[in-house]
């Protein structure tokens, strides 16, 4: 079922186009990651979804019902179906944890607030801290309060605008795991903006990569991350793993696509007798399968290179040869 559908959305700030005919479909139950460098327009995109930002062209639908367009603002009742959390938490500093969560219910005009607020606070694991003020909490705890506040209105969709970017890696992971839990337990659809590849690959099932106002790549997480096509996608996914000193080097990228459990590297060394040096390796578990990439320096001797190619082909290991910028090279015959 389509939960959120963005059709042909465009927006400019003055002369600068921040979103250029962006289309995106988020299904119910997705954790959809939107990845991009800062200034790419990703934040503006989510802010359009709940009406914090207007746009010049296009439409956004919520379950096949028009949510907003340049002519129609998001109705307040619809807004409550779409919760949002922010990088800077945006809690009221003069209210306690409980007060902040209750505020959401106050705004919605709910009379019986205490029980619902406590229930939401429990979901994010802050029951002990209900009477503390945001200034007494850590960043991760503040973000949990913000999540509880968003949950209080029982949203169907949660928008996360760089919600983990201000947090340390460990806290980031705990917040991401909470997202995953809420997604599973409540069926909450999550749209998550981030410039951190790690955050997205940890929990998202789909991803869109946005660059200079345009979506350059989108699809299932595995597909996009395993074989990024666009330049900026490669840049984000391999980030700064490659150093300039590798320029002019010929590299072999070995791709783990979740089908092999063999210790490939060890086997290459043992069976081919080639000493390979690893430039970059990154494997991750996506939906239970091992995926990943390993970049190794090409053996300089042609004989060894041929041996390596043969080994990889024989064992059905996906690989490609490329230069340090990720551009594929033709296999040169030795």
């Amino acid at each position: 079922m389509k939960e959120i559908e963005i059709r042909n959305l465009s927006k400019s700030f003055g002369d600068r186009k921040v979103l250029d005919h962006v289309s995106l479909t988020v299904e119910k139950g997705d954790i959809y990651g939107v990845l991009g460098l800062s200034g790419a327009g990703k934040s503006t995109l989510v802010r359009c979804i709940n009406g914090l930002e207007t746009f010049d062209e296009g439409e956004i639908y919520y379950r096949d019902e028009l949510l907003c367009s340049p002519k129609k603002r998001v109705e307040r009742l619809q807004k409550r179906k779409i919760g949002m959390i922010f990088q800077s938490f945006n809690l009221l500093q003069q209210r306690t944890v409980l007060g902040n969560v209750e505020l959401a219910l106050e705004i919605a005009g709910v009379k019986e607030r205490r029980a619902k607020a406590l229930e939401c606070i429990e979901k994010v694991g802050l029951t002990e801290h209900i009477n503390k003020y945001p200034s007494q909490l850590s960043g991760g705890q503040c973000q949990r309060v913000a999540i509880a506040r968003a949950l209080a209105l029982e949203p169907e969709v949660l928008l996360s605008d760089e919600a983990t970017s201000a947090l340390d890696p460990e806290t980031t992971n705990s917040i991401l795991d909470l997202f995953k839990k809420l997604n599973k337990e409540l069926g909450l659809t999550i749209i998550m903006i981030s410039h951190q590849m790690n955050a997205i690959e940890r929990i998202c099932n789909k991803v869109a990569i946005i660059d200079k106002a345009v979506i350059v790549e989108q699809g299932e997480l595995g597909d996009v991350f395993l074989n990024p096509q666009a330049e900026v996608a490669k840049q984000l996914i391999y980030s700064d793993h490659l150093h300039t000193k590798l320029n002019d080097q010929r590299l072999i990228r070995i791709i783990f696509d979740g089908n092999s459990d063999e210790p490939i590297l060890a086997n290459i060394i043992q069976e081919c007798g080639i000493l390979v040096s690893v430039v970059f390796a990154d494997t991750k578990s996506i939906e239970g399968k091992t995926f990943g990439q390993m970049l190794i320096k090409c053996p300089l001797k042609n004989r060894e290179l041929a041996k390596l190619r043969k080994y990889l082909t024989l064992h059905n290991v996906k690989y490609r040869e490329e230069d340090a910028n990720g551009v594929e090279l033709e296999e040169e015959v030795a």
Partner: protein
Amino acid sequence: METFLTVLQMVGETLGMTIISTVIAYLLGIPLGVLLNVTAKKGLRPIRSVNLIVGIIVNILRSVPCLIVVVICMPWTRAWMGRGSGDWYTILIPLSVCAFGYVARVVEQSLNEVPAEEIEGIRSLGASDWQIITKVLIPESKSSLITGCAVTAVSIIGYTSFAYNIGAGGLIAGIYEFFTRNTGDYMGKIYFWILIIIVVVIVQIIQELGLYIAKKTDKRRKLK
């Protein structure tokens, strides 16, 4: 004993003038301040014309010297209170008028201290502008509003000097009257200095109390 009662009466008059005028000034000034803040360019609902007009009114109010306001207000005071001068309450209207333009600006500034992010967070929950004003803007800036209130009260104490001109009494008018009756050697009289010390103490108490309450209610800082 008689002197003591006179002093007590003057203190009472000064406090009465200050507190009631501050309250009235705030009743009028808060809505205006909110209006200025909300209609400003970066406010919740920018309306240039309203902002401009309210701004001009407030600026005019603030630039008319208090003594002139006292004179201008006299007919209204007479109409509403039965008499235009001679009693402590006859200064209330001019003092409030003098102060509320100032209050409007103070309130406007205080509300500006609320971070835009906090407002956005509440807006994402589907809050109306009215809810944002009553649940975010005012409560979140309450410490700053309290400090502003203390500052306003202190300047109103200064304005109570003009009570002398319409015979409305109070401490400062009392001091000046004492001076006019003892022009030769008032500096040597203990009574003169005691009255001045009382004024200073009242100002200090209001100031410190305001700061104390503001600090006590401010949850923004670390409480450790």
